[in-house]
Symmetry: C2
Subunit: 254 residues, 2 copies
């Protein structure tokens, strides 16, 4: 397939690199030409542009991997060429594309991407939606060329997935950043925490998160909870309090 990638952020970079193995990346668009050019050269693509008017009309697939609130204006500004257009967002409904495109859909890779670490897509769950069943099949086939974990998901399901991902990844990561602050005050590196975190994740293969809950809150150890709260201020105090109360409610107030 000849693919145009619209965007040069974390999702665009990782998808472009993975798709370049079995497809031709025909063009990269980014508002910042230097970013478009850098990604183009990384995936052996000859065309890079920062001008939506220069997007080539003769590719098979256009992947819009930009900030959620920029998707609508891109499909408005570029005329429909009859090709397949997809976005990669967990939160934007398919309708944003459908208004302006005959053949469109969603290819949502549920993963947290960074430019520094190249992701192995084979384990990444993809959630796909098409404007009609045959289009959904096309997008699913593309997703299956990258991953063995592909699910159909309408916009509502995809939004719930995204919320679950924000809790599981973005918010958990922020808790680790808060823990890093606490450790720094004791002159300890964050690396002492990694075995604990890995074991906690490993448990999730065998037990549900609710079943594997441990710690002072679930065992109602109010003496420890009070001591911890007395040592915390600001956001850390508020978050410790809020999460402790929520754990107690979930496990003891049914």
């Amino acid at each position: 397939m000849r693919i145009v990638i619209i965007g040069a952020g974390n999702v665009a970079v990782n998808l472009a690199k993975a798709l370049a193995k079995e497809n031709e990346i025909a063009q990269i668009f980014s508002r910042t030409l230097a970013n478009a050019s850098a990604l183009a050269s990384a995936v052996g693509c000859k065309l890079a542009t920062a001008d939506l008017g220069e997007i080539i009309p003769d590719a098979d697939l256009y992947i819009i991997a930009v900030k959620d609130d920029a998707i609508a204006s891109i499909v408005e500004q570029v005329p429909d060429n009859g090709a397949l257009w997809v976005h990669t967002s967990g939160s934007v409904p398919i309708d944003v594309l459908r208004i302006h495109r005959k053949r469109c859909g969603v290819l949502y890779p549920m993963q947290s991407f960074s430019k520094q670490i190249e992701v192995d897509f084979t384990e990444v769950p993809f959630f796909v939606e098409g404007c009609e069943p045959s289009v959904a099949d096309e997008i699913s086939a593309l997703a299956r060329s990258l991953s063995h974990s592909v699910y159909p998901a309408d916009s509502d399901t995809r939004r719930r997935l995204h919320i679950a991902a924000v809790f599981s990844c973005n918010f958990a990561n922020h808790l680790w950043a808060l823990a890093d602050d606490v450790l720094a005050e004791a002159n300890l590196p964050f690396s002492v925490m990694l075995p604990l975190i890995r074991t906690t994740v490993d448990k999730l293969c065998l037990l549900s998160p609710s079943e594997s809950q441990t710690g002072p809150a679930v065992r109602l150890d109010h003496a420890v909870i009070s001591k911890h709260l007395a040592m915390l201020t600001g956001d850390k105090h508020r978050i410790y309090d809020t999460l402790t109360e929520s754990i107690i409610k979930k496990h003891h107030k049914k």
Copy 2:
């Protein structure tokens, strides 16, 4: 070494099994005799008791691995026999032992334990403290027989570690339980979330948690944040709001 284990909970079970490989577990105490007996038979130990008065006086080491608020009453009720007594808590100061014991200290394995999954102690960071340097050395030597990650830590450092562990493990796990609820509403298994979680953890080997933060909050994507909040109620709404605000404050309000 001849070791008495006081407690038959998650920490006691895992420590007893690991120590039994190179030591003699001489006795198990638990308030519930069935639990003491079960652990005793699992580690080839002949004595199990639910009576503090029956604790044998001639072991080399007594490990108190019980709920934090039960430690003090145990050392009060059992007379000092001159042996080494340690507790395994991240939160209880050494002084709770020092009042009633000549040779005492702390052996804190910073890990989340469950009875279902046997922990590999070689990667578990141990934090040790002794009532005097020679005792600290004895406890460190024991810890190094189990793990290659052993640090000295006074009570204040240990408490900070425990707080960091609560954030990193207990609270992160609760976020996963909340994500599980959100997925269940969409009829999806929690397993779809595991690749995302593993990648998020893998990043922590290369980047600090703060550097690797992603998601709507850090990119100030208020459109997504509002949509997510509109779909959440109760604890999930409150926690989404609190953590989003904290991420924005940490990354954008310096």
